[in-house]
């Protein structure tokens, strides 16, 4: 059976070039970057090169990059770190209602500490309205955190415009760029951000390593105290191989982006157009302000998990925002924030493309999908053909 992986927003495999770059640092070049002898200097050099490369790609300075264990850690470090550091300036934070749990649950924990959080609504396409943002600003607002692009529905937010307004008011701007680093051109100055999180495994790098851009002059209370690593912003012996892998993967993604983006948009649109031919089906998110690899749809009258199981039986890997796949009784908070009714949100399907997906695979998926949806609808008491 053909196996088709269409869940690249969840994770990606490590590219062979990336693994080759990493391997020496898992074996011969195993030194601790804090050590003074040759092995240590070797590791230090690798970290320095990786940091310089990552900084250059996102338009940052060498000292503005901190390596972490994940996108989620970067989000926590940015949000809690800034909230704690600037708590005497104010206790109000603005975010959106469709953030990743790495941001949303960090906000919830700060609320318990007495911070006030405004969750901006989104329109039916998943876009934040800049005027809503302006209305939410207060004298005691210290931080804004809005994701660059949404992981479920792929909507790309007007970060540059929001960041500019935040800066005019002297407010720190953070963005979770986990879905966009590697996929889009990400430049911290063009985006007007002070803090930017991303994670290697979303762009063919290893799991367990992320990064946070911290604009010069922004201070953060560290989450992890210990040694002097990462200029005391994040203690713990550096994950040299992982960091080398992150940088190698980002370099490749940056270099090959022009080649892959067009191909991915073509396949994405083919998939969307093909799926929408099935009756009672709708696209989630924006048709234009959309990640090149994201397809998110809802099929009425059926439930997402049974759809995923059927696709899996045909060798197709996708994901859903239904309650049964989230482990709770509620469907995805993102789909609900877009204004979808619960029963519609339960029937969601997300397919996210990668650089190696082919036109033939998309044809196969489209061919497989229609009969599955039909069969599940025939079984559904909500459907009356």
């Amino acid at each position: 059976m053909e196996l088709i992986y269409l869940d690249h927003a969840a994770t990606t495999p490590i590219r062979s070039e990336v693994m080759e770059a990493m391997l020496p640092y898992l074996t011969d070049k195993f030194g601790n970057a804090s050590s003074i002898y040759g092995w240590g200097r070797q590791a230090r050099k690798a970290l320095d090169d990786a940091r310089a490369s990552v900084a250059e790609i996102i338009g940052a300075d060498f000292n503005e990059i901190v390596f972490t264990s994940s996108g989620t850690e970067s989000d926590n470090m940015a949000i809690k770190g800034a909230a704690w550091e600037y708590r005497n300036k104010g206790r109000h934070i603005i975010t959106s209602s469709i953030e990743h749990p790495g941001v949303l649950n960090t906000m919830k924990s700060l609320e318990k500490e007495g911070y006030e959080v405004t969750y901006l609504p989104v329109n039916a396409q998943g876009l934040i309205c800049v005027d809503d943002f302006k209305q939410a600003l207060r004298d005691d607002t210290i931080l804004v955190s809005i994701m660059h692009a949404n992981n479920e529905v792929g909507t790309i937010q007007p970060i540059a415009a929001i960041g500019q307004i935040a800066h005019e008011h002297g407010i720190i701007m953070h963005t979770d760029a986990v879905q966009t680093a590697g996929a889009l051109e990400v430049d911290v100055n063009e985006l007007n951000v002070d803090l930017l999180s991303f994670s290697a495994h979303k762009f063919y790098g290893p799991k367990g390593v992320g990064a946070l851009y911290i604009r010069k002059g922004i201070r953060l209370v560290p989450l992890i105290h210990g040694g002097n690593q990462e200029r005391r912003r994040r203690a713990g012996t550096e994950n040299t191989a992982g960091i080398v892998g992150l940088a190698a993967a980002l370099e490749l993604a940056d270099k090959e982006r022009p080649e892959f983006t067009g191909k991915m948009i073509h396949l994405r649109d083919k998939l969307i157009d093909g799926i929408l031919k099935i009756p009672h089906t709708r696209l989630n998110g924006s048709r234009t302000q959309r990640l090149p690899n994201n397809v998110s749809v809802c099929f009425e009258f059926i439930e997402g998990e049974s759809l995923l199981l059927n696709l899996d039986m045909q060798g197709i890997a996708g994901s859903s925002g239904s309650a049964c796949t989230s482990g709770s009784l509620e469907p995805s908070h993102v789909l609900l924030a877009l204004g979808l009714k619960h029963e519609i949100a339960h029937g969601s399907l997300r397919l996210t493309l990668g650089k190696d997906n082919t036109e033939a695979e998309i044809d196969y998926v489209l061919k497989a999908l229609e009969p599955i949806v039909h069969r599940l609808r025939e079984m559904s008491p909500l459907y009356h053909s």
């Binding site: 049974s306 049964c324 029963e343 339960h346 559904s380 008491p381 909500l382």
Partner: protein, 124 residues
């Protein structure tokens, strides 16, 4: 995560459909919560001679619906109403912890279908 038995009933659900002249109909669940099950039973001389279902829900919801139709066909009404959610789980060789409520769905739909049958008997 699902047993082979669950996957079998999910892939090849038994007795999908409706019974036009059903003697009892039970519906349970809520589309808001992502699962709704409807069960039809046909009763002759106190025996359930046919059962059919339609379900909107996850793999476990479809499998529990399917197995309960198999469990009830051929049983008397009195025997059928003894079928517990635990019996449904056992018949499927278990369910993942997060999916246990799906077995309540099937047993609950059956109880409602039997109540509906009794109701109709009393009326006529």
């Amino acid at each position: 995560m699902y047993s082979n038995k669950v996957m079998d009933h999910f892939q090849n659900p038994r007795n999908v459909g409706e019974i036009v002249d059903a003697d009892g109909i039970g519906e349970i669940g809520n589309p808001r919560c992502g699962d709704i099950m409807k069960l039809w039973i046909k009763v002759e001389n106190g025996y359930i001679v046919d059962a059919k279902f339609k379900t909107f829900g996850c793999g476990a919801a479809i499998a529990t619906s399917s197995i309960i139709t198999e469990l009830v066909i051929g049983k008397t009404i009195e025997e059928a109403e003894q079928i517990s959610d635990q019996a449904v789980v056992e018949a499927l060789d278990g369910l993942p912890p997060l999916k246990m409520h799906c077995s309540n769905l099937a047993a609950g739909a059956l109880k409602k279908a039997i109540a509906d049958y009794r109701n109709k008997q009393n009326v006529s």
